[in-house]
């Protein structure tokens, strides 16, 4: 039982990270019907930027651990948001009216580009995150010893998701994003600047993805330049699992995928955990072809 609960909490922490990355996929998909394959690599960039800021700028010395954490967090989110914005302008905007798969290939190219750019700048080895930021306390919860970092990651992802939900549901800008997701043409006619909404989505999604990269660095203490490929694929899986284009779906899908993986790794076999995650995805899609929260849009005949 204790092992189960520990696995569950671990799954929730990893799942929260998947969910943050999945939000980037799903928001972009929502407004552009594009799978942004480069999103996983923006996540990597976030992790490396976080490392650089922490190691080279001595922020911790100036602001103390908590202040440094917050400052780096914000800076990473802003910088990766900028990368996302530029990505959209350069690689996707010229292809907006082309076939959907052309943009997908452009995205795959961007992914290869980013991954190799990181490798060229930092080298092909893995890096260890400075551990002075890693909270070293443990919390006693329901008879469990829970590492503080696990709670920190769960707390941060939940907070970010709640903030994003509030933004999408409560603000005028959020309404504009929802409108463009439903019908860009109609939204344009209603006076919404579709280009601006898309740019905004390409700021928010990559910003969240970059922040998630930083969290992985803190949580696992180790990063490498290919991590975006596997995390990106997992997060994309999570977005599909929940129903792509659907924001609560991405959150649910991410958490679910994290838990499934943790349980598979704990109870079946570590080596099969990725395969099991995909098998669960396939099973769920066979039962619900548009994901758990995906709309079943009956095509009008």
């Amino acid at each position: 039982m204790e092992q189960f609960l520990q696995q569950l909490l671990n799954g929730l922490a990893v799942g929260g990270i998947y969910a943050l990355v999945a939000l980037g996929y799903t928001m972009v998909y929502g407004v552009m019907k594009l799978i942004n394959f480069a999103h996983g690599d923006i996540f990597t960039i976030g992790a490396y930027l976080g490392l650089t800021l922490l190691v080279s700028c001595n922020i911790a010395g100036m602001l103390g651990p908590v202040g440094a954490l917050l400052a780096v967090f914000v800076m990473v989110a802003l910088l990766t948001a900028l990368v996302g914005y530029l990505l959209e302008r350069v690689a996707y905007r010229p292809l907006r009216n082309a076939g959907r798969l052309s943009a997908v290939v452009s995205a795959l190219g961007a992914s290869i580009f980013f991954q190799n750019a990181v490798m060229l700048i930092y080298g092909a080895r893995f890096y260890v995150y400075p551990d002075f930021l890693r909270p070293d306390f443990t919390v006693h919860l329901l008879g469990l010893n829970v590492p503080g970092v696990r709670l920190l990651v769960i707390g941060a992802t939940v907070a970010l998701m709640l903030a994003l939900s509030a933004f999408i549901q409560r603000t005028r800008t959020g309404a504009a994003i929802r409108a463009v997701a439903i019908d860009p043409g109609a939204a344009q006619l209603m006076g919404i600047n579709v280009d601006r909404v898309i740019s905004l989505v390409f700021l928010i999604g990559p910003g969240l993805g970059g922040a998630a990269g930083l969290m992985v660095g803190i949580y696992y203490g180790q990063i490498d330049f290919t991590m975006g490929w596997s995390y990106g694929l997992k997060a994309f899986t999570a977005a599909i699992l929940g129903g792509i284009g659907n924001i609560p779906g991405a959150m649910l899908g991410g958490l679910l995928l994290g838990v499934i993986e943790a349980l598979a790794a704990g109870y079946v076999a570590m080596a099969w955990k990725d395969a099991i995650a995909f098998m669960v995805l396939i099973l769920i899609l066979i039962i619900r072809p548009t994901g758990i929260l995906g709309e079943r849009t009956a095509e009008k005949l």
């Binding site: 082309a98 052309s102 795959l108 490929w229 076999a269 995805l281």
Partner: protein, 331 residues
């Protein structure tokens, strides 16, 4: 761009070039050309699924792997001659495709895309974990023998070159006939509008599955050639990145077979040309992928319109035609 108009001479020029190429280049580039031929086989078969039927399939490496492993296991364990295993490798891949595609074939666009990616990953992990004790885990299988062709042993680069490119030639011909038939049109209708296709009497599920099975069969045969050429195979040769490359080749091609060939040369040849940039070559490659799509979003060469001998039928007066259609049933 006048690529459309010079297509036939371009095709002949390419064919001639391919015929004499082995005498013009060194062993290294010959090897690259064998690779290009293999990828061309894979891309031509994926083109049936992705280009012609419009099914978002990013998992072609899985079928390639099934073929390669079938050949390797039959050859190393049971000592079957390599070329004899080719039809079996094709069939194994085709059956595998049928089994995995059947339950998921009704999924739409991007949902199918992630599922096919998932299939590649599941296959790769299964191979890594030495499923059934046959696949040799992460080391893979080595000691696959060279193919013999009626007593003639194929081992040199140039022999593989002609073997592979002959297969490409035959595939081009067969897929060309397929494209200009009822079958090719059915795939085309499905790509344009699957609901309308079904409503006109096209069995959409059947044709989608048939496209998958046919593409997988070809990928399986390509797997045989790959195993024979490398003599050793490992799970990492069939990862998601391989699928991505084949996928990108087909999208950049625009859908025509000549386009697929040119696009394969660009995708597989370019990284080799960039060798001198050593570490930066994949960076340039990624950038080139973006640039090529932005330069030609519709792909290099869209398929040519099918031609029909219908002009002669125009002369019939419409009245006569009406009578003939009515047949004897006119009241």
């Amino acid at each position: 761009m006048k690529l459309q108009d010079i297509r036939t001479p371009m095709g002949f020029g390419l064919a001639f070039l391919l015929l004499v190429l082995p005498f013009l280049c060194n062993a290294y580039w010959l090897d690259v050309c064998v690779s290009i031929g293999l990828y061309a086989l894979l891309a031509l078969s994926l083109n049936v699924i992705l280009g012609q039927a419009g099914i978002f399939h990013m998992g072609h490496a899985a079928f390639f792997a099934v073929g390669a492993y079938t050949t390797s296991i039959l050859n190393t364990l049971y000592h079957w001659p390599v070329l004899w295993t080719m039809p079996l490798a094709g069939c194994a891949a085709a059956f595998f495709a049928l089994a995995v595609a059947r339950p998921i074939i009704h999924l739409r666009g991007d949902y199918l895309l992630i599922v096919t990616i998932g299939i590649v990953e599941i296959v790769r992990i299964a191979l890594l974990n030495d499923v059934g004790g046959l696949t040799g885990g992460s080391n893979g299988i080595f000691g696959i023998s060279r193919p013999t062709f009626f007593g003639f042993r194929i081992s040199k680069g140039i022999q593989f070159y002609y073997l592979v490119w002959c297969m490409v030639g035959v595939s081009l011909l067969l897929f060309h006939c397929l494209w200009h038939s009822r079958f090719g049109r059915a795939l085309n209708y499905i790509k344009e509008d699957d609901i309308a296709a079904e409503g006109c009497g096209v069995n959409v599920t059947h044709y989608k599955l048939a496209a998958f099975v046919l593409g997988a069969f070809w990928a399986g045969m390509a797997g045989t050639v790959y195993a024979a050429k490398m003599t050793t195979i490992a799970p990492e040769s069939f990862n998601f990145m391989e699928s991505v490359i084949i996928f990108a080749v087909v999208i950049l091609s625009g859908g025509s077979q000549l386009g697929v060939l040119i696009s394969t040369f660009l995708f597989i040849g370019l990284p080799e040309l960039l060798r001198e940039f050593s570490n930066a070559r994949m960076l340039i490659f990624g950038f080139a992928m973006m640039a090529m799509m932005i330069w030609r979003p519709q792909g290099l060469l869209p398929p040519r319109r099918r031609r029909y001998q219908a002009g002669a039928l125009l002369d019939r007066s419409s009245c006569a035609a009406r009578e003939s259609v009515r047949g004897g049933s006119a009241v």
